[in-house]
């Protein structure tokens, strides 16, 4: 067992069986209802491109939640980073600076969150809610509430979405890279191990000599960095920076993480589960799009599917647990 490729093992693990089953069911539904469109390469790529932005955010959110916190500001920070990176001033320095700018803004906002929580002792919910509100406000101010187009000379950013390698857009590779790096960080490094400790029992972590505050701060910075990367992806997809980007992403990201089996109380969870949770959501959306359900039935169906998916997973857990 121990010898097999870790990622495969992760997917195959019992605890993810329910999620994989839910995914499989959705795929079957897709194949049955839209045999012609669903299983095409272009549709699959479209699903992954759609998942990429929020997927990157989900990786960061997984760390924060395992570490016992919560980050409500992800969508707003992404919006702020996209706006900052697409101001005329930033655009004049070219695409590389724009990308760096997005990441720095994201990380900076994350650091502020982390500082408020770790050293200012604010509850994560409140601190990141304040950040959500403030970052959106700042993004609106910077952009004067307008959508900022990426200029032609910086189209290298847009290429991330349009250029393909082996038929797959670059941004899907970026998404995959973030997931893999996140997995390694969580499972193969002391940082990851400490994240579990800090979330599982902060007092025990403290008494074991871990600098809980610093670690907490780093977790939010990491989440912010992911938002910065996500900002680059959303800029690539929409060719714009806007204060409206990422509305309600916080709910989607947290929901994906939690469907993926991470405890909201911290100390337990996996990146793979989060990504599977996210793919379930994305697949549901895709199926609705393909089937052109254009009524509020979708919402009702979505609610039911979420419940069923989690019940599937629960049942599975139950069999395993005492």
């Amino acid at each position: 067992m121990r010898g097999t490729v870790p990622v495969l093992r992760g997917v195959g693990e019992m605890r993810h069986l329910g999620l994989v089953a839910a995914l499989a069911i959705l795929v079957v539904v897709g194949l049955v209802t839209r045999p012609d469109n669903f299983a095409t390469a272009s549709n699959l790529i479209s699903i992954l491109s759609l998942a990429a932005t929020i997927g990157v955010i989900t990786v960061g959110a997984t760390f924060v939640i395992i570490g016992g916190g919560i980050d409500l500001s992800v969508g707003a920070v992404m919006a702020l980073a996209s706006v900052w990176a697409t101001t005329l001033a930033t655009q004049s320095y070219g695409p590389v600076v724009m990308a760096i700018c997005a990441i720095l803004v994201g990380t900076g906002a994350g650091l502020v969150n982390g500082w408020l929580i770790a050293y200012g002792r604010l509850v994560p919910f409140i601190a990141t809610l304040a950040m959500l509100v403030a970052a959106r406000g700042l993004a609106q101010r910077m952009s004067d509430r307008r959508t900022q187009l990426i200029q032609a000379e910086n189209s290298a950013i847009v290429d991330l979405s349009t250029s393909r390698v082996l038929g797959i857009p670059l941004l899907v590779y970026i998404f995959a890279l973030v997931v893999v790096l996140g997995w390694i960080l969580l499972n193969r490094t002391t940082f990851g191990r400490r994240t579990y400790a800090v979330g599982g029992n902060p007092e025990a972590a403290r008494l074991a000599g871990i600098d809980v505050r610093r670690h907490t701060m780093l977790l939010y910075a990491l989440s912010g960095m992911c938002c910065g990367i996500a900002a680059i992806l959303i800029m690539a997809r929409t060719t714009t920076g806007s204060s409206t980007h990422g509305d309600l992403y916080e709910l989607d990201a947290i929901a994906a993480v939690i469907i993926g089996g991470t405890l909201l109380t911290g100390g337990r969870g996996t990146i793979i589960g989060s990504i599977l949770g996210l793919l379930i959501f994305t697949l549901i959306t895709n199926l609705f799009i393909l089937n052109g359900l254009n009524t509020s039935d979708q919402l009702i169906a979505k609610g039911l599917i979420i419940v069923v998916a989690v019940l599937l997973q629960r049942r599975n857990l139950k069999e395993r647990a005492p």
Partner: protein, 491 residues
Amino acid sequence: MQGIVKQFPGVRALDGVDLDVRAGEVHCLLGQNGAGKSTLIKVLAGAHQPDEGTILFEGKEVRPTSPIDAIRLGFATIYQELDLVDGLSVAENIFLGHEHARFGFTNRAAANRAASEVLARLGHPEIRPSTEVGRLSPAAKQVVSMARALSREARLIIMDEPSAALAHDEVANLFRIIRELTAQGVAVVYISHRLEEIREIGDRVTVLKDGRTVAVGLAARDTPTSRIVSLMTGRNVEYVFPPRGGRELGDEVLRVENLSARGVFSDVSFSVRAGEIVGLAGLVGSGRSEILEAVYGARPASGRVLLSGKQVRRGVVGTVRHGMGLAPEERKAQALLLDQSVTANITLGTLPEFSKFGWLDRKRERAEARRLSEALDIRPPDPERPIRTLSGGNQQKAVLARWLLGGRRLLLLDEPTRGVDVGARAELYAVIHDLAKQGIGVLLVSSEVPEVLGLADRVLVLREGRVIHEGDAAGLDEHRVLDMIMNGKAA
């Protein structure tokens, strides 16, 4: 109880256990860590459902499917792990589930009055019923737990290691109450790893080993210790301390000067040399744990703490880096990551030892964890199990194992043998001795005076946060120490 079987994934915790308890007796349940004692009484209390077996109560078969059922039957339970709600007051905790209420409206005054009565009966009139439980010391919490069990009109009271968090005089109090209860015909099931307690209070003894009953209804007072121990462990263990001496005392590793924290302890000064074991004796609440935490940098205090002559930066991160380690007293709240594996729990304090540039060497980590769990006989011997599924005593061993790694210079051990069985205890003593032999300084807190005297080279006696006596352990006996901590006479 007959033929009780309880299966957990991968473990058959109970494998056909029989237990029979008579009205008015104190029935003791003995067994090694992980033998299944807590599981058995949880079955009785309705917290676990047995896979097989029957329970007869007053001649009728009963099947408590939930704690409510068991409570209705007249079973009251004091669990091994504290089961209090921190946010509620003492009185509210005591009467949780059977509040003084009319039409759902609580009657606080009545509840507080009743709580005061029960607490007074337990010899703790100083615990105020309106205090929030979260602010109490572990010992006081244990008292509240007992008060809760007593507040029910119980016919059978089950106590799972009630004395683990209590000191000498409190245990005496507890025994007085048990005697009152049994005189009224209440049956008591009593679990403890302290054999001398069994002798004092028990009527009959049932011994469990690996989830099976190996002896039923032994007379508690007359059965020889060696027989009980060999029934429990399957071998002969001598419940003795390793011989003192044979150790070179090195340089001073720790010097504490005028350490004070308002309202808890004041003006504490002492030192620990390499290879020396220094014991802190004192009553519950005398501030021993706080002193340890202050030395460790986990709690603010004034005064100086010097490690090998150098003042260390305040805060745990610094002290750990300088080679200190603390095994705290409340394992669940302060030490364990319940959801993580035994391995992850053991290596938590010394992660840098297992990593290069932050990259974990998981193979080495697992190997070390395996080595330690064998050395300390942690059962089941699978370091990949979540530590949540280990029995209390085995969890305690894992807490100790954490600091046996990575070249510590000074270990602070707070109640290191709480809940550890006789056999493992002897092993732990040997381990502590070995550590000292390797030149590690040890600062030990224990509520069992014989343990302090038996292990330590030097003893500090504390009373109300002040050191009232300091001297060689060899020159002290249990009686004198008790006298000092009770009466404050620095003899």
